[in-house]
């Protein structure tokens, strides 16, 4: 299979600090991938490597190209929003469109104007006169008007209120995404993106700790809501994470078929939320001590 992004033994060091530690990652076309990790996990470093913004060691190809060496060619097929507030303050909307049209061969002015018509942004507005939410709308309109194969979003909704955050992802899915396009998103607000992801990558301390499709996650992990009386029975199955609930516990398991049947008899089994799974994978516990 041809991967859109292929990383083999990719590393990056800043002096003594290891930002990426020999990671392997493959991402195919038509996926919406969440790259999730705590602060300093190596997410942005990995994205910088993928976008050719910083050199990394190891073998990294994006759309078959070396991102560092072929950055300009690559950016004709890859778009990214690094941060919502990074549009130049001094520029007007009209100038921004003219600039993007001038430098980007895959940009459609008509498409962009169509997206902007659905907002209250006018062509004569300066970016500095727009609210943060409107700047995000403008940035997204620009990026969605580029017919790129890979869209990289690094904390795209940081600092936005809930209305704009929801609208952002709605627009992204309804107006941009199709089977030919791949979206790679990093965010701390995992609960907002879990419904749109097809694949999930957890990264911590420069290592990939989980790389699975959402179907695999649903098949591989279960969350058990267990009554306090059955706590000891549940602990026998080695939960990977647990927390107290009113009158009981919530425990996360990576069970085999046999264990799954046993767990079903102890309480209510559900697919864990991404935030639960994230905490379980990123912050290992001494379970017995935690819930004693």
């Amino acid at each position: 299979m041809d991967y859109l992004i292929s990383a083999k033994s990719v590393s990056k060091r800043y002096g003594k600090k290891v930002a990426l530690d020999n990671i392997d990652l493959q991402i195919g076309a038509g996926k919406v991938v969440g790259l999730i990790g705590p602060n300093g996990a190596g997410k942005t470093t990995l994205l910088k490597g993928i976008l050719g913004l910083a050199p990394v060691d190891g073998e990294l190809t994006v759309l078959g190209m070396n991102p560092q060496r072929d950055r300009v060619k690559l950016l004709e097929r890859v778009s990214f929003i690094a941060d919502t507030a990074t549009l130049p303050q001094w520029i007007s909307v009209r100038e921004l469109i003219a600039y993007t049209e001038g430098v980007h061969p895959r940009f459609s002015r008509i498409q962009c104007l169509k997206y902007l018509a659905e907002t209250s942004i006018t062509l004569t507005d300066k970016v500095r006169s727009l609210s943060k939410g409107m700047v995000t709308q403008l940035h997204l309109a620009l990026i969605m008007s580029i017919d790129s194969e890979l869209l990289v979003l690094d904390e795209p909704t940081l600092g936005l209120d809930i209305l704009y955050r929801k609208q952002f992802y709605e627009n992204l899915l309804n107006d941009y995404y199709d089977a030919q396009k791949t979206i790679l998103i990093t965010t701390h607000q995992v609960e907002e993106i879990e419904t749109i992801l097809t694949d999930l990558v957890f990264i911590n301390q420069g290592n990939i700790v989980l790389d699975a499709s959402m179907e695999q996650v649903a098949a591989q992990y279960v969350e058990l809501h267990v009554d306090a009386n059955y706590k000891e029975h549940a602990l026998v199955h080695n939960p990977i994470h647990s927390r107290r609930l009113l009158g009981g516990f919530s425990m996360l398991f990576e069970p085999n078929e046999q264990q799954r049947e046993s767990l079903a008899q102890l309480g209510k089994i559900t697919t864990p939320s991404l935030s639960e799974l994230f905490v379980a994978k990123i912050k290992p516990q001494h379970i017995a001590k935690e819930i004693a």
Binding site: Y14, K48, L51, L53, A54, P55, R71, V72, K73, L74, L75, E76, S79, F80, I81, A82, D83, A85, T86, L87, P88, Q89, W90, I91, S92, E95, A98, Y99, T100, E101, G102, V103, H104, P105, H139, I143
Partner: protein, 309 residues
């Protein structure tokens, strides 16, 4: 695509720095034109300092300047049909020196901020999401700096001349001189060529300012000016107190001497309607070209490899 990319990159520089390239020069034009208008309508007395190059025996000058026997000073003869042309030619000659200095200062400021502002505001994240190489980006900024000195000087001097011409003709109530005085605007072409000849010699300074703007984390303009000054003082200090010569002072002196020679020669000749560079200009330009290329390489490397976004 390359043409469109080039045009829009140049436009971007104008959009970003329109205050520097349009508003400030216009303010400058208004101030200078105002100064000239005041000077003309105040009926100035002109005394000829010792060593002055004004040849008062020249019949043309005698027609425009008249000796006032009571004060032994010259007065402008506003009845002469050539007086407006004379005023405009004088303004152009003096204005060229002044506007060149202003243009160099504005361009120096542009150079010391052009690779800094986008890093400071994090706009660089947006610019780097576009398929434009840093080499192209840096080269465009150098092209803008190169073109700015002659173009800004030409723009400011032309506008000042036109403004002064209109005001003086209106004030004299003699619009017939307007067409005659327009001929003196042709001198602007010679001055423009003089400025073009000056640019290759100033480029190393501009490239140095751009390098500091690509490198420093704050106050690039101060860094661009203070680092050479510190080196200069260090040279003088070492030379005076320890007898060590690191040759910075001699280099700077030779550099400015070359620029002064070129300015004197090109502007002096431009005033006579032609431009010539009669000394070893090409050797200097070649050396400065190498310096600019090295600084340019350093800028591009910094933009590509600096790990700060």
């Amino acid at each position: 695509m390359f043409g469109a990319r080039l045009a829009v990159q140049l436009q971007r520089e104008y959009w970003e720095h329109r205050g520097l390239f349009l508003l400030l020069p216009l303010v400058c034009v208004l101030l200078v034109a105002g100064f000239w208008v005041l000077a003309v309508i105040s009926d100035p007395s002109i005394s000829q300092p010792r060593g002055s190059s004004i040849n008062v025996l020249d019949p043309q000058i005698q027609e425009i300047l008249r000796l006032d026997p009571s004060t032994n000073e010259y007065k402008v003869n506003f009845e002469s049909k050539k007086v407006v042309g004379f005023i405009i030619a004088l303004q152009q000659f003096m204005g060229w020196w002044f506007f060149t200095a202003v243009s160099v200062f504005l361009t120096l400021y542009y150079c010391s901020s052009c690779l800094f502002a986008d890093r400071k505001s994090r706009d660089i994240l947006f610019w780097r999401s576009m398929p434009v190489s840093e080499s192209f980006n840096v080269l465009i900024k150098l092209v803008v700096a190169t073109a700015s000195v002659p173009l800004l000087t030409l723009l400011m001097n032309t506008l000042t001349s036109m403004l002064l011409l209109l005001v003086v003709c209106t004030w004299l109530g003699d619009l017939s001189q307007f067409a005659a005085a327009l001929k003196s605007l042709s001198m602007l072409g010679s001055y423009f060529l003089g400025s073009v000849g000056l640019v290759p010699l100033i480029l190393p300074v501009f490239a140095w300012a751009m390098l500091t703007s690509a490198y420093t984390k704050k106050s690039p303009f101060l860094a661009a000016t203070f680092i050479p000054l510190i080196l200069l003082f260090a040279d003088r200090f070492l030379n005076s107190f320890m007898g060590i010569n690191i040759h910075v002072y001699e280099l700077v002196k030779a550099y400015f001497h070359t620029i002064a020679d070129v300015m004197h020669m090109s502007f002096g000749d431009a005033g006579n309607g032609y431009v010539s560079f009669a000394f070893n200009y090409s050797a200097d330009v070649a050396i400065y070209g190498v310096i600019v290329a090295v600084l340019l390489g350093a800028m591009i490397w910094l933009r590509n490899n600096r790990y700060e976004i």
